[in-house]
Subunit: 357 residues, 2 copies
């Protein structure tokens, strides 16, 4: 395995649309949401370990989840778990991790990837990552994996590449924010748009070049303590510096302004498991298109539902069509699948209603 290969796993999200399984106390990435025996972060870590030495996989998360990471990834050393001392967006934490890695190995090649996505075809994933590594090895470019869109999803950002580009690795023309439905349909029709899955590949030198060009202030903030990184002084320096950093995503900070961005259309199936409906799509189903995870379920006159419970729960359902039924310890959700985007707002309503209890 190439000792220069590194990964930064993003594991600080809350996944509130996956309530009630995903909560601030135990977010989605730490759940075995597919009922396979592995949590999403474990699956992601193991998938990356096939191409990246496991001691080179860093996990970016916040203080609250540090112990969960160590519990679920027991082979990971303390140094591999990077805790953000404050809630910022992705640019500061990726920069921070990149500088630490740069100091350890200036020849490092990085994958940046979310820890809570579904990718089943690991062989294709590895092949694609390898191709990206090879491209970045020899060129000062920033790469991203784009997902071939299957429908006009308005919940994702899109990546536009040159129309009719015949190369495998395509030059990116622009990043598009989450479009409205009409625009999303147009994107699909044009054919040169891919979903932005938040999976990036670059050499540590190239990403720092980009920060130098487009985020000079932020880079200088962190460079001022470069000496302290990977030493006993790091913690104090970061505790002071990090909260000062701008709250900005990696997409805005460097991907959008950069001219040297390339995209590889992924050869694997992908699902961000952003909602229960997204999970439903990936689960095996019975003859009535019901997907059942963990439950002992008897479904009468019921179609197109996802039933997800703690292990061994007995569930009897009658007359439900296209519902989300989620039972997680002291929480129960029974909601129409097509209205799942409401779940995030419902939680605020719920918290207000029971604020006093």
């Amino acid at each position: 395995m190439n000792k220069n290969y590194y990964a930064i796993l993003m594991a600080g999200g809350i996944g509130s649309r996956f309530w009630p399984v995903s909560t601030a106390e135990l977010p989605k990435q730490f759940h075995d949401i597919l009922g396979t025996g592995e949590t999403l972060i474990q699956k992601t870590f193991n998938r990356l370990s096939a191409i990246i030495p496991s001691e080179n996989i860093y996990i970016l998360t916040n203080n609250e989840y540090g112990s969960l990471v160590k519990e679920q990834l027991p082979t990971v050393k303390d140094e591999q778990v990077i805790l953000e001392p404050a809630m910022r967006n992705t640019a500061p934490c990726i920069l921070y991790a990149s500088l630490k890695i740069k100091k350890e190995n200036p020849d490092a090649m990085l994958v940046v990837a979310p820890s809570d996505h579904w990718i089943e075809d690991e062989a294709s994933f590895i092949k694609d990552i390898q191709l990206c590594f090879d491209t970045c090895q020899n060129n000062d470019v920033l790469m991203t994996l784009g997902i071939k869109p299957t429908f006009p999803n308005t919940g994702y950002g899109y990546i536009q590449h040159k129309k009719d580009a015949t190369e495998v690795v395509k030059k990116v023309e622009r990043f598009c924010e989450k479009p409205d439905y009409k625009t999303a349909k147009k994107f699909i029709k044009q054919g040169n748009f891919l979903w932005n899955a938040g999976i990036f590949v670059w050499s540590v030198q190239s990403v720092l070049n980009a920060f130098e060009k487009y985020q000079t202030a932020m880079l200088n903030q962190f460079l001022s303590g470069f000496e302290s990184l990977n030493t006993d002084e790091e913690k104090e320096f970061i505790a002071e510096t990090y909260p000062e950093a701008e709250n900005i995503s990696i997409d805005y900070a460097i991907m959008e302004p950069s001219k040297n961005i390339y995209v590889l259309p992924a050869s694997f199936d992908w699902n961000d498991l952003g909602t229960w409906g997204a999970l439903y799509n990936e689960l095996p189903k019975d003859e009535n298109k019901n997907a059942v995870v963990n439950a002992k379920a008897l479904l009468e006159n019921s179609k197109g539902n996802i039933i997800h419970t703690t292990k061994g729960k007995t569930v009897v359902v009658g007359g439900l069509k296209n519902y989300i039924v989620i039972d997680e310890k002291d929480k129960l959700l029974i909601y129409p699948k097509k209205k799942e985007q409401e779940i995030k707002d419902l939680l605020k309503k719920l918290n207000n209603k029971f604020a006093d209890s």
Copy 2:
């Protein structure tokens, strides 16, 4: 309080239509199904204690539930808990209990009542029972409390009394088994039919007179060991005799053949809590006619549901109309209220489906 007043509380049922709260391990009568802080048997016991010395209240149940009874009614002495050594119908166990009471107090007056019904108006209940006691004190009659029917329920037996009877206590003409819908409607229209709630009042002498007339064999079986009752020898005698007794209900055994049956139309509201829908009718409801017990519930676009969970469970529901949503530890039921009669059969289906797991 009159020392001759006794009660026999029937507490051996399983209440399978109240699944998943009511199970063979913990049947309905041992649950705080209304969320009031008291279980149904506790409520029933306390209600009777207002007119009957609590040491005269006997609880008839089976071996499995003996410890539950003692746990929930801690003031009750061992002698007050009568355990049926075998599953028989109500006639043998009422006879057995009556003989024990007769031996202790030949002047005893008895109420026989289920332990799992809902009666909120305790003052009226006590008044009615007192009137029955007074009637039975001076006459060799068997009395029952009849419930004024509010709709043509096909799940209850009916009691027919003389048409246009002006007396408060009315002579019973016949007991009718659960009718079909057409017959039930006719009963309601005729006006001289009441629901049979299984609440009986009589002197111990009168009920034994009836057994002598109509169940001579059974009476003699039990009388053969009369000496042993309330002594150390009772257990052995009953273990031998009881399983030999005929499997027959008190209604068939003595009420139907007897000529000296009278009914008092109850002046209190009554509900047998036989189904979730029946419970729903007695619960307070929100502006959308949702009844919530124990749960912290957020109900969006939902009407006419009953939500019943363990204490403090958070429940978010969308778009459900007239559903039963019951969450009880490792079991969850989501079923249309109008199909609740299917629940009993669903349990067999469920057990078959997961027989191997």
